[in-house]
């Protein structure tokens, strides 16, 4: 896609992934979250533990309402957890007594997209460094143009989000995140509403970004094929209360392209994930039926 060999990282830190200490290690230990909206306790996460290595493309799959987004929101700092600890690079991010502050080291790419519609593509991409006061307007603009160009988004910097396609919007959102050189990219079913063809383009693009930057990516999805195609590890969550049921190492070589979709190893892995998720989906479905009755 992009012929450029330079990494998608702000200038000065572009050799980040070559540094001896990769960043973005997430340690989730016994994270538990109880929602209590109507006086009825709902256990969303139950002693959920996982270790995400620095630079890992970590994909979480599981039935609807299993607490995937709850976990992501806790890491992002949108809400607290009831007990347990989450560490980022061995620093306590949040625990039962401390809620994380949202910050530019953990940027979320939202399910329905959250580019500011009132700002142009360029204004969106430069938003982070400018509000943080980390770059001058001209430096930020230059940087943004570079990142957009690397992601194949040249020539749209003065368009508004409503003027470009949904696939482009999602890529601009990733560019906006990469502008901040985050430690972790948190992606909450970012390609859910897209058609299959657009999805393939988005996957390829995201893999390019990942291969060049080796950021830790925490990716939530329902789509099992997407999970295996993208992920380094696939974490299968149980139905609510959510906890990690199974971790599957995806030992497919990188850089990946669509040829691996027909490889035997891919099909084996897919079978393994399907079996694991199917049990949970069945449980979730039956629980849903009981709640209805």
């Amino acid at each position: 896609m992009t012929t450029s060999t330079s990494t998608i990282c702000p200038t000065g830190t572009s050799e980040m992934h070559l540094s001896p200490q990769p960043v973005g290690k997430l340690s989730i230990r016994n994270a538990t979250k109880i929602y209590d909206p109507d006086g009825v306790n709902v256990l969303a996460l139950d002693n959920c533990s996982m270790e995400v290595e620095a630079g890992e493309f970590c994909v979480i799959v599981g039935p609807s309402g299993c607490g995937k987004t709850t976990l992501l929101n806790a890491i992002a700092g949108f809400h607290d957890i009831t007990s347990g600890d989450i560490f980022l690079d061995d620093e306590l991010l949040c625990s039962g007594t401390k809620q994380a502050e949202p910050g530019a080291d953990r940027i979320v790419v939202f399910q329905h997209g959250a580019l500011f519609p009132w700002y142009t593509v360029l204004e969106n991409v430069t938003f982070g460094p400018l509000v943080q006061g980390k770059m001058s307007a001209s430096a930020a603009k230059k940087e943004a143009e570079e990142i957009l160009a690397q992601m194949g988004l040249k020539g749209i910097s003065h368009s508004y989000p409503s003027e470009i396609s949904s696939g482009m919007r999602r890529r601009v959102e990733i560019a906006r995140a990469m502008m901040n050189n985050p430690k972790v990219l948190l992606m909450d079913e970012p390609y859910r509403a897209m058609d299959a063809l657009t999805k393939t383009i988005m996957h390829k693009n995201l893999l390019d970004v990942y291969d060049q930057s080796r950021k830790t990516i925490f990716f939530i999805t329902h789509d099992l094929e997407e999970a295996i195609f993208l992920g380094t590890r696939v974490y299968v969550m149980t139905t609510r209360p959510g906890t990690i049921k199974k971790v599957i190492d995806v030992d497919l070589p990188r850089p990946r392209d669509y040829k691996i979709l027909s490889s035997d190893r891919y099909l084996e892995l897919k079978q393994e994930v399907i079996e694991s998720v199917h049990e949970e989906a069945k449980k979730a479905f039956e629980a849903g039926e009981r709640e209805m009755a």
Partner: protein, 294 residues
């Protein structure tokens, strides 16, 4: 410049849409002229005037016989020597119009300057809303006419009383629509801004204000209508000039065509002021109009 996505992932300029806004205007005008809309608009207006003419001046139906008909109104309106002293050639006519516009501008301006920040703040800070919202909700449904005695008690000078009434009319609409505008902003934008490191003041100026803008402008249009409405009520009760005063005074002096002249003038000015707000809104919200029009 509009671009299209190709499979290779490169953004390619497909067409240059940097056409001037003037040629775009003419293109739209041409499209509009080809559609049935302008002709139906004209037909609708003509039918209305025809009915008015027939009922009042031709058939002189009961209940309509005393009303001024279109012919007598237009004759009076364009007469160089009007029977009742008001036509497009008399300075008094413009004096009335100007006085009313001035009052609306003052009242509407004050309502906007106070109402928009108040609404923004109410939407932004929950505690502040908890204090102010109940008061607003109780005051809002009180009709403007009910305020008249208090307005006169508060402002013995008539001018201030009228402006105060007009202000009240638009203040609530502006404030509540602004509040609604802030509350309509998707939570994801606030979260995204915080993720990107925005502080409170950034969130206020870069998310709350632009996000609420579409609702603010809807509110301003409604509030402009309300302010004309309350202005006329105020001018009828206590005024020496202005279109509302002109209507009431002409009624007392049995100068019926002047009533209709003032009414139609109010209609045209009210409509133009709303159109002006819409226009300013489109200028400020290019991100909305550009996406939908191209």
């Amino acid at each position: 410049m509009q671009t299209e996505q190709t499979l290779s992932g490169k953004a390619v300029a497909t067409q240059d849409v940097s056409v001037s806004s003037i040629s775009l205007f003419f293109f739209r005008l041409k499209l509009w002229m080809k559609s049935p809309t302008p002709y139906l608009t004209l037909l609708g207006l003509s039918l209305f005037i025809l009915t008015w003419w027939l009922t009042t001046e031709v058939w002189q139906l009961p209940r309509f016989e005393k009303l001024p008909g279109p012919v007598s109104v237009v004759k009076e309106w364009v007469s160089e020597d009007p029977a009742y002293g008001i036509s497009i050639y008399t300075p008094e006519y413009y004096e009335h119009i100007w006085k009313s516009i001035l009052r609306v501008l003052q009242a509407f301006g004050l309502a906007t300057i106070l109402g928009v920040p108040l609404g923004l703040f109410m939407g932004w800070k929950k505690t502040f809303k908890d204090y102010t919202f109940p008061v607003m909700e109780i005051l809002r449904p009180i009709p403007m006419l009910a305020w008249v005695p208090l307005a006169i008690l508060m402002f013995p000078e008539r001018e201030m009383a009228i402006i105060y009434l007009t202000f009240l009319g638009s203040f609530f609409a502006t404030t509540l629509n602004t509040l609604l505008g802030v509350e309509s902003i998707d939570e994801a934008y606030f979260r995204a801004a915080r993720c990107l490191g925005a502080k409170s003041r950034h969130i206020f100026f870069k998310v709350v204000v632009p996000g609420a803008l579409p609702f603010i402008f809807t509110g301003l249009q409604i509030s402009m209508g309300f302010s004309w409405f309350s202005l006329v009520a105020g001018e009828m009760l206590a005024g020496e000039f202005g279109l509302g005063y002109l209507i009431w005074n002409s009624f007392i002096l049995v100068q019926y065509p002047v009533i209709v002249i003032a009414m139609v003038t109010l209609g045209v000015i009210g409509w133009s002021s709303s159109a002006l707000i819409r226009f300013v809104g489109t200028l400020l919200m290019k991100w909305q109009s550009r996406g939908s029009s191209l």
